[in-house]
């Protein structure tokens, strides 16, 4: 089961779950993903130690997609 989560004040929240073969659950996750992008979140897929990928569309095959806030110089 793939998961779309958002890092927030609760630690993190699970926004959607899907399986690659279940179109309905994936479409719902895509809607949720787009909604988060509109709120200013950034989609990131952790690819194991030391690597991550910024995604603009929800990847169907990813196990975990994390929505994060933009960073800035302090």
């Amino acid at each position: 089961m793939s998961r779309l989560i958002r890092m927030d004040s609760s630690g993190h929240s699970t926004l959607a779950e899907w399986t690659p073969v279940d179109d309905a659950s994936f479409e719902a996750a895509v809607e949720e993903f787009r909604g988060q992008l509109e709120l200013g979140y950034i989609g990131t897929v952790p690819d194991g130690p030391g690597k991550a990928t910024h995604v603009r569309d929800l990847p169907r095959e990813a196990d975990l997609v994390i929505m994060r806030r933009p960073i800035a110089g302090g």
Binding site: I5, M7, D8, S9, S10, G11, H12, I42, T44, V45, P46, D47, P49, G50, K51, A52, T53, H54, V55, R56, D57, P59, E61, A62, I66, R68, R69, P70, I71, A72, G73, G74
Partner: protein, 211 residues
């Protein structure tokens, strides 16, 4: 998977040149020259005043104090990037800690639990990532660069702030360093003395990893 490896936040700092290895080496040299520039004249003045008029030793001591304090203040600014900042959000921290732990290998996970800082090897050097900044250890552990960088959301628990920075760093290391504000460059011992006791093992681990 459709991905893009440039950090999206780079769009907010289009005027900045990429903070790559060459940029870091140049910046380190500038910091070295700058340190000499504001230290040597005070030392020379202190010696000269004493030689001209031994009774003016308090003035000489004042000049030496300036030469000692100013580099210390700069190093303190560098070390400050790793100090815990903002609300602790203790209720949400265990959940955030779990997610951050999942993003780390066994060794860095154990180090993070002890020090509150995440160790991340990169192409530019080895990073130590905190809640509101990061250190980059380069030159086989002989140089440290300090960066102020944060996620501007105080409601996030500390481990989530680290996870934000860690993910951004993993997407685009040079982009991450470019978005961050460079605060200091110098010898690791200058920063280490000003770090909280708990954070020091993370700097030692980064130096060891870089060698």
């Amino acid at each position: 998977m459709e991905g893009a490896q440039a950090l999206p936040e780079l769009a907010s700092v289009p005027w900045r040149r990429p903070t790559d290895g060459r940029w870091l080496r140049r910046r380190a040299r500038v910091w070295q020259a700058w340190t000499a520039l504001y230290t040597v004249p005070f030392v020379a003045a202190g010696v000269l005043i004493f030689m001209l008029e031994p009774l003016a030793v308090p003035v000489s001591l004042l000049a030496f104090a300036h030469a000692w304090v100013i580099p210390r203040l700069y190093a303190d600014r560098g070390a400050a990037v790793l100090r815990p900042k903002g609300p602790r959000n203790a209720g949400a921290e265990p959940v955030a800690q779990g997610l951050l732990g999942d993003l780390l290998d066994h060794g860095p996970r154990e180090l993070q639990a002890r020090t509150g800082l995440a160790l991340e090897p990169g192409a530019l050097g080895t990073w130590v990532v905190g809640e509101a900044g990061a250190l980059l250890v380069t030159d086989r552990g002989r140089r440290v660069h300090c960066f102020c960088v944060r996620v501007p959301d105080p409601a996030l628990p500390p481990s989530d702030r680290i996870a934000h920075l860690l993910l951004a760093l993993r997407v685009d290391e040079v982009g991450f360093a470019t978005v961050a504000n460079h605060a200091f460059a110098g010898a690791p011992w200058r920063v280490r003395r000003r770090l909280p006791e708990r954070a020091r093992p993370a700097l030692a681990a980064a130096r060891s990893d870089t060698r």
